[in-house]
């Protein structure tokens, strides 16, 4: 397959179409989102009342020039079928398609594999969004910067603490021009505290040739040959054609490791620094800060979905219309109650997600926790996590010198007995907790 480079249609006031790609990954990924990803693919996990990728789509729908969105990943076709169907009604101006990779191709490899589909209609730009990101997605601002700078690539960046920075891709930029000078993925030493948010805007003219040259570099220099400099081993075609595994490995091309560093050297690559919220949704526990941030965003936007504040509804709270919450129960701040959930009299829920069909009995207390689908929390039970600092990008805490998960998570169909206390635990699906437990993973 050869790459067809589209012509840029510009100058006559028509800025050309933009498309968006959401990278959703696959079921073999997202293991860190267990135990919740055992039952639902992470991109479809409900945060602030909606699947994680719904929040991406909402941001995409606010960019007037986008009409087509692709979800690229390697989940089975059926996984996103219902979501795409529902989204067609909710986002009438967007055409949403799922493009399935039959093997993991890497974040850039997937884009390249589906280049014909993406380039159909000759879009001038593509947005690429990692689905495991929670942020305000300031896409219009990125587009504006791109036009101002005539950029080939714009990356969304945010500032984090120096300690946290080395866990992310680090960006060195020119303070005045905002041009990206250097990019390193998860550096060992301190490079910068401006990090990659996992949201990009690429000119289609630039990204596909960049991926292509990265693939070419791979092919020309197969990693195994580097250690065998003798002439007989230089017959690379023999090596690659004969070694299917090696061949496949070479197709895995990642934006972060293989493309962005090169772009910083060779392309008109700029960074848009967001001052708004940003979190990675990595571990299951990180759904709690993400839930809080999206609920707060909904409140700022005056969303009609949120429950009306009252003596017993504090801060932003999402209650699904089919949930039954007793009037004496106190909820919030930052609580999402899923479909058909029952919350009993005098129950307390704070900084938590209660997933569909669950029941919280009377006088129970749920703090900093995720209650899995169809789970039961008994009367006067206490299910409790530990708050982490607002600025923290980790969901684990150190207790008595041992690292434990800050957020307590009950998997699907778990039960907590009356008066039982569960603190800082991860509980796998279908477990019944009859005694107090703390700081454990319950298999």
């Amino acid at each position: 397959m050869s790459l067809q480079i589209p012509h840029r249609e510009k100058a006559n006031g028509n800025t050309g179409a933009t498309k968006a790609v959401i990278l959703v990954g696959g079921s073999s990924r997202g293991t860190r989102f267990r135990p919740l990803s055992l039952d639902v693919p992470k991109p479809l996990f409900d945060v602030a009342g909606h699947p994680i990728i719904w929040h991406c789509l909402t941001a995409i729908a606010k960019v007037p020039s986008i009409h087509e969105v692709y979800l690229i990943g390697y989940y089975e076709e059926s996984v996103f079928r219902d979501f795409i169907k529902d989204s067609a009604t909710e986002f009438p101006n967007l055409s949403i398609k799922y493009l399935r990779e039959y093997q993991a191709l890497g974040t850039a490899g997937g884009l390249y594999h589906f280049r014909d589909a993406i380039l159909k209609g000759r879009p001038e730009h593509i947005f690429v969004l990692n689905s495991d990101v929670c942020c305000s997605f300031p896409l219009n601002e990125m587009l504006k910067l791109s036009q101002e700078k005539d950029a080939e690539a714009v990356i969304l960046g945010t500032r984090v603490s120096e300690d946290a920075a080395s866990n992310f891709g680090c960006i060195v930029s020119d303070a005045h021009t905002r041009r990206v000078l250097h990019y390193v993925e998860k550096p060992e030493s301190h490079i910068s505290n401006l990090i990659n948010c996992g949201v990009y805007l690429f000119s289609t003219d630039a990204i596909f040739p960049s991926i292509r040259s990265a693939i070419k570099r791979r092919t020309d220099r197969p990693s195994r040959l580097v250690s065998y400099p003798s002439s007989e081993n230089l017959e690379s075609s023999f090596m690659i054609d004969d070694d299917d595994d090696e061949n496949r490995k070479n197709e895995v091309i990642r934006l972060e490791q293989d493309i962005l560093g090169d772009m910083a050297d060779n392309k008109q690559f700029f960074v848009y620094e967001t001052k708004d919220f940003w979190r990675q949704i990595k571990t299951a526990g990180s759904a709690i800060p993400a839930n809080a941030l999206y609920l707060q965003q909904a409140r700022q936007n005056g969303s009609k979905e949120l429950a009306t504040l009252s003596e017993n509804i504090l801060g932003p709270v999402y209650i699904h219309p089919t949930a039954q919450v007793h009037p004496t129960a106190k909820l919030g701040p930052n609580v999402s109650i899923g479909p058909r959930v029952t919350i009993g009299a005098g129950a307390r829920v704070k900084e938590s997600i209660v997933l569909e069909d669950s029941e919280i009995k009377h006088d129970a207390c749920v703090l900093y926790s995720i209650i899995g689908w169809n789970s039961r929390v008994g009367a006067w039970a206490r299910v409790e996590g530990t708050p982490t600092p607002v600025t923290s990008h980790t969901t684990s805490i150190i207790k008595n010198g041992v690292k434990v998960q800050a957020i307590t998570i009950l998997g699907k169909e778990c039960a907590v007995g009356d008066e039982v206390r569960v603190q800082n635990c991860i509980c796998l699906p279908f477990k019944e907790l009859k005694r107090d437990v703390a700081n454990e993973v319950i298999m």
């Binding site: 009299a345 005098g346 307390r348 006088d363 207390c365 006067w380 409790e384 008595n400």
Partner: protein, 364 residues
């Protein structure tokens, strides 16, 4: 008859409660500890009571004057200027104890039981020797000093074995005695121990007998035992069919053994019991779960809180959805914030707790 109650110090083992009140004034089963003893002594015909203390007992005086009037008895406070142990205080109060030449009772103030003073006096009179000590049977005698009787004698004591390794018996000194005035001749005015000096000398002369205690017995000198003792006391009230207990038919009572002062207010949809005492002017909110706990006067437990195996000090407040357990003890005027968890916290008076106490700790 006369009695001496060995109070000793302020009761540091029962802190943080005894930072506010001396131990004899702490309510046990909604009644000050000393009052349980005074009541039982007065009922047995005691007219003169000596409290042996080694601190300035200003706060006690008011209550004691009240009790003197209530029971028509004389209460004398005997202050040791240096701690005199468990026998020295008897010598110090010799003048009162020798009055009218009749035997006198001695009690450790930490001990709670169904005081058998009448039966004890009768038994003592019947055997005619110098002293009788009340003994109780325990499951693990190896932790205590065990009493061994003379072979073939049901009550005369042969010897004491301190913390026996091998089983020699399961009767231990319950800390309650009746002694003839002649025993005072065996005691010098100096720090001295009744268990280690006076009693062995009496045993040698074949002058000491034991009297078996029926029913419960507990040394309630520390919070954990205070709670256990409360359970035993409430059980004994239930057994006696005491009218003081809240009837088991009351909707909020769960598992019985619940003692609620009439001035306390209990909210809706609570589940209380077993083994709970709720003092005067206590306010319990709606949907509160209480078990095996003591709520001292003027304290407040707000809606949906959960309290187990804990003592809530006077005028303290437990917040909504708070959870207290594992021998948490709140001193006077402590506030536990809403939704806070306290595991085995000893909280000193006037503190406000806003963060969880996850592991047992003393909060200064």
């Amino acid at each position: 008859m006369k009695a001496l109650i060995l109070v000793g110090g302020f009761g540091t083992r029962l802190r943080p409660l005894t930072l506010t009140l001396p131990k004899p004034l702490v309510e046990f089963g909604n009644k000050r500890m000393i009052l349980h003893q005074i009541e039982a002594l007065a009922a047995a015909g005691v007219t003169d009571i000596v409290l042996a203390v080694n601190y300035r007992p200003e706060v006690m005086e008011k209550y004691l004057a009240e009790y003197e009037e209530q029971f028509g008895i004389n209460i004398t406070i005997s202050i040791e200027h240096e701690p005199l142990g468990t026998a020295g205080p008897l010598k110090l109060a010799e003048e009162i104890l020798r009055k009218d030449g009749t035997p006198f009772f001695v009690l450790n103030s930490d001990v709670t039981c169904e005081y058998p003073f009448k039966e004890l006096a009768a038994f003592h009179k019947a055997h005619g020797d110098e002293g009788t000590i009340v003994v109780t049977k325990v499951e693990e005698p190896s932790k205590y000093g065990v009493i061994v009787h003379k072979p073939g004698h049901p009550s005369k004591i042969d010897r004491f074995v301190e913390k026996p390794v091998e089983f020699v018996g399961n009767r231990i000194n319950a800390g309650i005695y009746i002694l003839n005035t002649s025993v005072l001749d065996r005691i010098e005015l100096r720090p001295t121990s009744i268990e280690q000096e006076t009693f062995p000398s009496m045993v040698k002369d074949g002058q000491l007998h034991s009297f078996d205690l029926n029913g419960f017995w507990m040394d309630v000198g520390q919070p954990k035992d205070f709670l256990t003792g409360t359970c035993l006391y409430l059980s004994s009230l239930t057994k006696k069919g005491s009218k003081e207990l809240t009837p088991a038919s009351t909707p909020y009572v769960h598992g019985g053994n619940v003692l609620v002062d009439p001035s306390a207010k209990i909210g809706k949809n609570c589940r209380i019991g077993p083994n709970v005492t709720i003092g005067p002017d206590v306010v319990v909110g709606d949907g509160v779960r209480l078990q095996r706990c003591v709520l001292l006067s003027g304290s407040k437990v707000k809606d949906h809180a959960w309290v187990k195996s804990s003592i809530i000090g006077w005028n303290s407040t437990v917040g909504k959805w708070a959870r207290l357990e594992n021998v948490s003890v709140l001193g006077d005027d402590v506030t536990i914030g809403d939704e806070i968890y306290v595991n085995g916290g000893s909280i000193l008076p006037h503190k406000t707790i806003k963060a969880n106490v996850d592991v047992p700790a003393i909060i200064m």
